[in-house]
Symmetry: C2
Subunit: 247 residues, 2 copies
């Protein structure tokens, strides 16, 4: 990939790679839904006029990238799937493990991304999304238990993340979320902390309601900084935990 | 992966996945260098006490994630490789293609990330890195040609990105760089624009020299905003170009 950075020195792609790319483009351009059945291996051999092993390699390339699934057995074959934002988490986790990254690094990146997301969302978010975020706050305050908080906290942050309409930042944040939860997902807090978090969420929603991007950014930063300070004080051992690939 | 988000509902991993994870952990913990030869398939069958197909699946899992390469032929076998930050670009590109993202989305994410990187770098960067960045500016000013700029611009931004010592942000930014270059790598500008960019770089270095994080952040933001405005004015067709997976 590195020789590719300036668009030069691009090596000649293998035929299987060319075919994999064509199939991916076809799925996107024809807007094929998840579960759509693609032509069989045999049909592809004929239409691309290449050997079986080339088609198999192309399909395998797409399978490991979550673009298709290969149903086994007779009558089986390639079926459309979509590579999901969550899929990035796995590739990222492996790289981070090799780079000796810790939960601290993941938290630092989140603190860089999510305030910007809050700022962008201020002018882009719908009333329905704001209502959904407000509802999640109400549910936490009514019953500040770990399971309730974890679920509603997820609703709050993922609704906001989608509302920023910045697909790249959303994908990045979602991959960080799955890594952080993998490391520290089981940790619980006192109900007092869940209530405090809900109030921080409410201040963010207020800023979004009036469309004040810089206020929303600042409120999100304060919310994350507060969580960061707490973790450093109470869960230092977790913060330095390494990122480890799981599957 | 999505059932994994809260650390519950984790499905039972397949034996090949367990072995793949153990091998990855071993490579990291034993600090095996790139090119190190791993035990042969036959030795792994014995030491893990599983069948050939399970070991093959585990090795294949690691190969597609760039953790090993499989040398073909007799005397061949698994050899250590490292998953590189650049590898994330490919996974991200595919997701973005399915999400109908454009170069505009990639640029927006870069404008969110790189000012933060400049702020973090202000207190972490070494004199040697600052000297390298300054040297890259001098080379551009001396000979403001496209090839010179592209190379030295890359030196400037990647030196800064590493100097922030935030491995996650560095990985994210590098994946955005490879996507943007893939779309717009061939575009060239007038030498006047290269000189202006070099001066913007110089203002960032000045802020970093005095350790002023918020100034460095602001200078980087202005630099990127300026580029963004220019692109919108002069290369609108490029900005809306879709992200397309290439291999």
């Amino acid at each position: 990939m590195s020789t590719d950075v300036w668009g030069k020195n691009r090596r000649n792609p293998k035929m299987s790679e060319v075919i994999a790319r064509e199939l991916a483009n076809h799925i996107v351009n024809a807007k094929l839904a998840e579960g759509s059945v693609l032509p069989t291996e045999k049909e592809m051999i004929e239409s691309f006029d290449v050997g079986r092993s080339t088609i198999r390699e192309a399909l395998r390339l797409l399978e490991v990238r979550n673009v298709i699934t290969l149903r086994p057995g007779p009558g089986g074959g390639p079926v459309v799937r979509r590579p999901l934002p969550e899929d990035l988490g796995e590739a990222l986790t492996l790289i981070l493990q090799f780079e000796d990254a810790s939960l601290e690094d993941v938290m630092e990146a989140r603190r860089a991304l999510e305030p910007t997301i809050a700022r962008l969302a201020a002018t882009r978010i719908s009333d329905a999304d704001l209502d959904a975020m407000e509802a999640s706050i109400g549910i936490i305050l009514e019953d500040p238990k770990p399971e309730v908080f974890q679920e509603q906290n997820q609703v709050f942050h993922s609704t906001l993340s989608k509302a920023a309409h910045s697909v790249v930042l959303q994908v990045f944040l979602s991959s960080l979320g799955s890594i952080a939860d993998g490391i520290a997902g089981g940790v619980t807090y006192s109900s007092r902390r869940y209530v405090a978090a809900a109030h921080a969420h409410a201040r963010i929603v207020e800023a979004l309601r009036v469309g004040d991007g810089s206020l929303a950014e600042r409120m999100m930063r304060e919310h994350l900084d507060e969580a960061y300070r707490y973790w450093h004080k109470k869960h230092r051992y977790l913060v330095s935990r390494p990122v480890v690939w799981r599957r």
